[in-house]
C-alpha cells in the first residue's frame, strides 16, 4: 500500500427495530469505529399503546386487562402489582388464601419469565441448546396457568381484593410435582452453560456496572442485584404473602453479565422454594374479600342467583366504585424484570384520575448507551439480553 493512505470512517448501523436479538421492537442506532461502538442511541416507542391515557378513561376494574399487555410474558405479576396498588388506595385487604394464590402466581411468572430470558439470552450469545430445554419447563408452567384461568399469556387473573377464581387441588398437586422436579432442571441448564468456555468469555467482565452507578441509573430487579445491591421489593416492602415465606435474595459481586445471569438462576431456585412453602401453608377460605362490598365484585355464584348481587356487579363494572377515596398512592411490586410501580391518583370518582406506570424495562433500556458505548458490537447483543427488557412494558 505504498504511497496510498487507507481512509477510515465511522459507520452508522441501525440495529432493529426488526432484529431477533432486540427482543421485540427496539432500535439502536450504533456509530461504529471498526468493531467498537462509539455512540449508541436507543429508539423506543414502536409499541406505544397509550396505556396510561386509556386507564384514565376506564374504571378501576377495567384496567386489569390493560396491565396484562405490559410485560406480556409475566402478566400475572402485572395484575398483582395493579391490584395491590388499588387495594392500598382503597384501604382493603384481600383474604389470606388469595394472598397465597397471588404469591404462587407471581413466582410462577418469575420462573417462566426467567426461563424465557435464559433461553433467548443464551440463543443470542450462541448457546442454542438451552433454548430447547428451557421451553420445556415454560410449557409446563403455561399449561398450569391455562388450567387455572383459561389463558396462557394474557391472564387477567388478579382482581381488586383477591383473585378471579380458586385454584383446584389438581392444580396444586401438579404444581407441587413441578417444584419437586424443577431444581434438577435448573442443574441441567447449568451443566449446559455454567462451565462453558465460550459462555464465560462472552459474559464475564462484559457490561460492568458498579453498585452506585446501578442505583444512580434507577435499575432494579436482578439487573441491580447483579451489582451487589440487595434491593428487593418483596423484602423491603412486602406485599401479599411474602412476609410469611422464607427466601433469600441472591446478589452478585462484579456487576457483569455473568453475575446477573447467576442472580437470575439463583432467583429461580428461590421462587421454587417460595411456591413450595405457599402450597404447604395455603389456608382455606374465601378468595375475594367479603368485607369491602363497595369495591370488590360479588362472588360469581351469587351474581347468577341473586338480584342484589347482579345489580352490584353491574354498577361496579360500568361505573366503578362509587365511593373511591380521594388521594394518591405509589405502590411497587417485584415483577420478574424489576420494580413495577403504579402511581395512582384518585379524585373520588370510579376511574383513576392519573395512573402512572413505572416500568422496569423503560428504565433498563435507558442504561443501554452506558453499557454499549466503548464495547464491541458483539457485546451489544449480550448487553441487551442481560438487562432483560420487554418492549411492551417499555413503551406501554
Amino acid at each position: 500500500m505504498s504511497g496510498r493512505e487507507l481512509k477510515t470512517k465511522e459507520l452508522t448501523l441501525s440495529l432493529g427495530p426488526q432484529h431477533p436479538a432486540t427482543h421485540g421492537v427496539l432500535r439502536l442506532v450504533l456509530d461504529l469505529d471498526g468493531e467498537t461502538v462509539v455512540k449508541c442511541t436507543p429508539h423506543v416507542g414502536y409499541l406505544h399503546r397509550g396505556t396510561e391515557k386509556l386507564a384514565e378513561h376506564r374504571t378501576y376494574m377495567q384496567v386489569i386487562p390493560l396491565t396484562d399487555r405490559l410485560d406480556y410474558i409475566s402478566s400475572m405479576a402485572n395484575n398483582v402489582g395493579y391490584c395491590v396498588a388499588v387495594e392500598r388506595l382503597f384501604g382493603i385487604e384481600p383474604p389470606e388464601r388469595a394472598k397465597y394464590i397471588r404469591t404462587i402466581m407471581s413466582e410462577m411468572t418469575r420462573i417462566s419469565s426467567h426461563i424465557l430470558w435464559l433461553g433467548t439470552h443464551a440463543l443470542d450469545i450462541g448457546a442454542m441448546t438451552v433454548f430447547l430445554y428451557s421451553f420445556r419447563e415454560r410449557e409446563w408452567l403455561l399449561d398450569l396457568f391455562e388450567m387455572t384461568c383459561g389463558a396462557r399469556l394474557t391472564v387477567s387473573y388478579g382482581r381488586i381484593g383477591g383473585v378471579r377464581n380458586d385454584v383446584t387441588q389438581e392444580f396444586l398437586d401438579r404444581l407441587y410435582k413441578f417444584t419437586e422436579e424443577f431444581p434438577g432442571r435448573i442443574e441441567e441448564y447449568e451443566t449446559l452453560i455454567d462451565q462453558n468456555r465460550i459462555w464465560l468469555q462472552r459474559t464475564k467482565g462484559i457490561g460492568i456496572l458498579s453498585a452506585e452507578e446501578a442505583i444512580n441509573w434507577g435499575l432494579t430487579g436482578p439487573t441491580l442485584r447483579g451489582s451487589g445491591v440487595p434491593y428487593d421489593v418483596r423484602k423491603y416492602a412486602p406485599y401479599d404473602a411474602y412476609d410469611k415465606v422464607e427466601f433469600e435474595v441472591p446478589i452478585g459481586k462484579n456487576g457483569d453479565v455473568y453475575d446477573r445471569y447467576r442472580c437470575r438462576m439463583e432467583e429461580m431456585r428461590q421462587s421454587n422454594r417460595i411456591i413450595k412453602q405457599c402450597i404447604e401453608k395455603m389456608p382455606k377460605g374465601p378468595i375475594l374479600t367479603p368485607d369491602a362490598p363497595k369495591f370488590t365484585l360479588p362472588p360469581k355464584d351469587k351474581v347468577l342467583a341473586d338480584m342484589e348481587s347482579m345489580i352490584h356487579q353491574f354498577v361496579l363494572i360500568t361505573k366503578g366504585p362509587m365511593t373511591a377515596p380521594e388521594g394518591e398512592i405509589y405502590s411497587a411490586v417485584e415483577a420478574p424484570k424489576g420494580e413495577l410501580g403504579f402511581y395512582i391518583i384518585s379524585d373520588g370518582t370510579g376511574r383513576p384520575y392519573r395512573m402512572r406506570l413505572r416500568s422496569p424495562s423503560f428504565v433498563h433500556a435507558s442504561v443501554l448507551p452506558r453499557l454499549c458505548e466503548g464495547s464491541l458490537i458483539a457485546d451489544v447483543v449480550a448487553n441487551i439480553g442481560t438487562i432483560d427488557i420487554v418492549l411492551g412494558e417499555c413503551d406501554r
Binding site: 423506543v44 435499575l219 405509589y330 392519573r354 428504565v363 442504561v367
Partner: protein, 178 residues
C-alpha cells in the same frame, strides 16, 4: 426516618418553597415551588441522614381546572440505605412550562424527563437530550394532557406517518399477495 420527618426537614430548610404537606395512607407528599427544586433534591440526595439515592419514579400530572397551578412534576425518592421514601411534587404553571432537570443528580432521570416532555410538554432546563421519546418526532400535541382527546376523527389533521401507511395500503390493494 419517617416520611413526615423528612417533610419537616425540607420545610425547615426551604421555608419559602414548601406549599403543602399532605399524608395519605402513610405516604407523605410535599408540594414545592419549581424555582429551587434542584437545590432541594440536591439536599435530599446529599445529606447523609436522608441519603435519598434512588429515584423511583418521575412523572407529570395535569390538573386542568382542578388546581390553580396546572401541572405538577412528581418525584418519588427512596433511600436504599435508610429504607425511607418521600414523594415530592413541584408545581409547574401552564404559562411557564419548564423546570430544572435533575439528570445531573440521577442519570436515570434522563428518559423519565423525556417522557414527561413527550406527554405533557413540560421542558426540562439543562437536559442533555430534550426530544420526544415514545411518540414520533413530528407528532403534534401532548397526549396525556387532560384537554387532549382520547379518540377523534382527525381526517387531514391525522399524523403524517399514519396517513402514509394508509395511502400505501390503499395503493397496494389491487395486488394479490401470494
Amino acid at each position: 426516618m419517617e416520611s413526615k420527618q423528612i417533610a419537616e426537614l425540607i420545610k425547615e430548610r426551604f421555608p419559602t418553597e414548601v406549599r403543602k404537606i399532605k399524608e395519605f395512607r402513610g405516604q407523605v407528599s410535599i408540594t414545592v415551588g419549581k424555582e429551587r427544586v434542584k437545590d432541594i433534591i440536591r439536599y435530599l440526595h446529599d445529606t447523609p441522614e436522608l441519603y435519598l439515592d434512588y429515584l423511583q419514579d418521575l412523572c407529570g400530572v395535569d390538573y386542568l381546572e382542578k388546581k390553580e397551578v396546572r401541572f405538577e412534576v412528581v418525584y418519588h425518592l427512596y433511600s436504599m440505605r435508610h429504607r425511607h421514601m418521600i414523594r415530592m411534587k413541584a408545581e409547574v404553571p401552564e404559562g411557564d412550562c419548564s423546570i430544572d432537570s435533575v439528570t445531573g443528580i440521577w442519570a436515570g432521570a434522563n428518559w423519565h424527563e423525556r417522557e414527561c416532555y413527550d406527554m405533557y410538554g413540560i421542558t426540562f432546563k439543562g437536559h442533555p437530550d430534550m426530544r420526544r421519546i415514545l411518540l414520533p418526532e413530528d407528532w403534534e400535541g401532548y397526549p396525556l394532557r387532560k384537554d387532549y382527546p382520547l379518540k377523534a376523527d382527525l381526517g387531514e389533521m391525522e399524523w403524517k406517518g399514519y396517513r402514509e401507511v394508509m395511502e400505501t395500503a390503499e395503493k397496494n390493494k389491487g395486488y394479490e399477495v401470494r
